[in-house]
Amino acid sequence: MTELLVDDTATQALSTAPQPAGAASRNRVRTLWRSLTSMRTALLLLSLLALAAVPGTLLPQRSLNPVKVDDFFTAHPSLAPVMDRLSLFDMFAAPWFAAIYLLLFASLIGCLVPRIRLHARALRRKPPQAPKRLERLAVNDRWEADGDAETVIRSARETLRQQRWRTELRAEPDGSWSVGAEKGYLRETGNLVFHVSLVVLLVGIALGGLFGYKGTVLVTDGSGFSDVPSSYDIFSPPRLGSESALPPFSFTLRKFTASYQPTGVPKSFHAYVDYQPTPNAATRPYDVTTNHPLSISGADVFLVGHGYAVHIQVRDKTGRLVYDRPTPFLPDDAMFTSHGVVKVPTGLAHQLGFTGFFYPTYEATPFGAQSSYPGPASPVLSLAAWQGDLGLGSGRPQSVYTLPVASLTNVGTKMLSPGQTWRLADGTTVTFAGLDQWATFQIAHDPGSTVVLVAAIFIVCGLLSSLWVRRRRMWVRATPTTGGPLGGGDGVARTVVSAGGLARTDADGFATEFESLLRRMRG
């Protein structure tokens, strides 16, 4: 086992072996800190983090799909609130999840500080002295060379230096010379870079969580958006810092287009926008598509969804236009069968509302109407008209996508194609004037993402050198010979050279490297 040959204090400090009792128990805090920063604790915390993440992939999560969480509440009315109290639907924001990674964070810092210090010392230390008997080492060799010991050892050292070994030349008391050499410090350096980068990565994530914001907004063809909290449909403000710091950009959706395969599988999406980084800046065009966000003043605008908006015109019985605008309908399936609500609260004798379904490619099937293709090949709007109090004055917040139909009177249903008009019994006319599309954009600002990216790059580099660099040592000793069968007599100085080496990590391939080094030394 190569581990047995590792003699650094570094590994002793990190040893998971029990600490000697008496010394540690003197100070409880210290004991606690020491056990928190041991590798075994780190492993345990790491495994706990992974284990804690598992239920988050099995239970519905608010951050991923709030609708599924609501469904779960409906299905398990007594169990769900209990689970909710344990944060099981917000697993990754749960206090105990945070507790695990904060402990891991502390543990990591606690073990890194002494290791960095030790490694800094190791980097300054000279390669160790040659052991007395090099032939005891795992790989070793011995030969005779011409020349005096000092010349031989200097040339051996030069060979090692050329191969970027760190060397130390020593004259020994008995007149021989030795060189100690070491290589592969990058392993521990890489390891430390990796672990430090993990800490930095966590800092970057925290920065994003504390100072970042994000929001979603639905924009219909031809309308605009400006970056203030009130323009968002959903907005999560920064947890620290102020909302007024949002960059003052704005944009208009000129046109959204989608194309599809004949099977209905989407092929491409484009949201053509005109944007202004600041209110007085020149307007610039941009094509926001999937995988291609628009970056303005530190915020990124992503295209995350799309759908149809049906343009409806309502006229009273005298022909006066009382309602004229596109209303976004929400898609229910991949073929964009969509539903929506149109409310006409003013301008007519009674308040009027519509619930409707929209089919971009209408198809009647035995199971009812449906859309058979997501593109608007043969659009049909199916409307039900309702009269009565729409409840808008009640003060209760109301979704723009629902109508309190239970308290309203149905006054007819109708299927309309674009351009068609429907006359209600009281003379009101409803025209399906045309079709627009809408797009939803997510606007996000994450001040930590650059830190995270840089840390991630260092993580990979650190990991590579930590796993692939091998730490190894070798020694060469040159001893002048006195006489013998080859030396002396002819006046030429001769030297016995012995060399030995050991791989401190993975021994594979070291013997080959050793041999090739010796071949160079022998010339």
């Binding site: 086992m1 590798m39 495994s47 992974a50 991923l64 599988v265 995988n291 996000a444 994450d446 990991l463």
Partner: protein
């Protein structure tokens, strides 16, 4: 289907079938070499040389040759698939699985050029053939263009890294199982030295390389696959940043990749500390491999998330 070159797609499917066939024959070849050479060795100290008889050694060499032929066919199948749909050939689970198998075979062949690991042949080719069989039947999806969300050059980087790492993890998983088998046999053999059972277990045990060697080999392959997996996760996060506006969202796929990563990190730590070598570390690495399988198969088919583009079951 438009956007698909039907004849190329067909060629890809035919090449795929031939790949599985050739691999299967290679698999039998490796198994035969493995079995006959060990039996020969245990029957007699020196097998009588017979000029006309085929030696197990020769069968093994033929199996390697067949593996190379299969590998070429395999590459052909993947390339024609990509050309048929004019995109990278890893957009659904069928394509993904055949790529993972291709990497596993590549890792094995590369190992073979550096170390005498032909004994691994049977153990690598068997799962590869089964895996390809699964890919070609249950997971099969006809050639079709990609969904827009997958249409980014990050798919090349992220998915290539994920496939490479998975192929590596698969090979190391096989080696780890051999390691566990070997240590189990050794323990059985050491129970009562000299007993019939001990002789039998000891004989079986010698069929495999030493536990030490298997352990080191498994570690080497994970040492290669782990950084690649780390890179795959990071590339995925960068891609997610462009596609979904956040680099990390605890989507089930992301979460299981993270869990897999942690399991292998635990394995590396366990190996780095003296007390946790060997069997316990091996168990950790198999846990890691199970997490990887959950990540690919359970998450893609059972748990839905943003990554649900597997192309399986509609």
């Amino acid at each position: 289907m438009p956007g698909v070159n039907v004849s190329l797609a067909h060629a890809s499917d035919v090449l795929f079938m031939w790949t599985v066939l050739v691999y299967a024959v290679a698999m039998f070849g490796y198994s035969a070499e493995f079995a006959f050479s060990r039996i020969g060795r245990s029957r007699a100290e020196k097998p009588v040389p017979d000029e006309r008889r085929v030696t197990p050694e020769q069968i093994g060499r033929v199996a390697v040759g067949l593996t190379v032929v299969g590998w070429l066919l395999h590459v052909g199948s993947v390339v024609t698939r990509g050309a048929a749909v004019n995109r990278v050939p890893w957009g659904n689970m069928y394509e993904f699985s055949t790529m993972v198998a291709l990497v596993a075979v590549t890792v094995f062949l590369v190992l073979l050029t550096r170390q005498p690991v032909r004994f691994l042949g049977a153990f690598v080719m068997t799962p590869v053939v089964l895996y390809l069989g699964l890919a070609g039947t249950v997971l099969y999806a006809p050639a079709a263009p990609l969904q827009p969300i997958l249409n980014s050059y990050w798919i090349k980087i992220h998915v290539v890294a994920a496939i490479t790492a998975s192929g590596g993890f698969m090979v190391s998983g096989v080696i780890t199982m051999l390691y566990l088998t070997r240590t189990w046999l050794d323990r059985r053999a050491s129970v009562g030295p000299g007993t019939a059972a001990a002789v039998e277990y000891g004989g079986l045990s010698r069929w495999l390389p030493s536990a030490e060697r298997l352990d080191r080999l498994a570690y080497k392959v994970i040492g290669f696959a782990f950084p690649v997996w780390t890179f795959a996760i990071i590339a995925g996060a960068i891609w997610a940043k462009y596609a979904w506006s956040r680099y990390w969202g605890w989507d089930p796929k992301e979460t299981w990749s993270f869990i897999t990563w942690v399991a292998y990190a635990a394995y590396l730590h366990a190996r780095a500390t003296a007390g946790w070598r060997g069997r316990r570390a091996a168990v950790l690495s198999l846990i890691g491999f199970s997490c990887l399988m959950v990540d690919y198969y359970v998450v893609n088919t059972v748990i839905s998330g943003l990554h649900s583009y597997a192309g399986v079951g509609g």
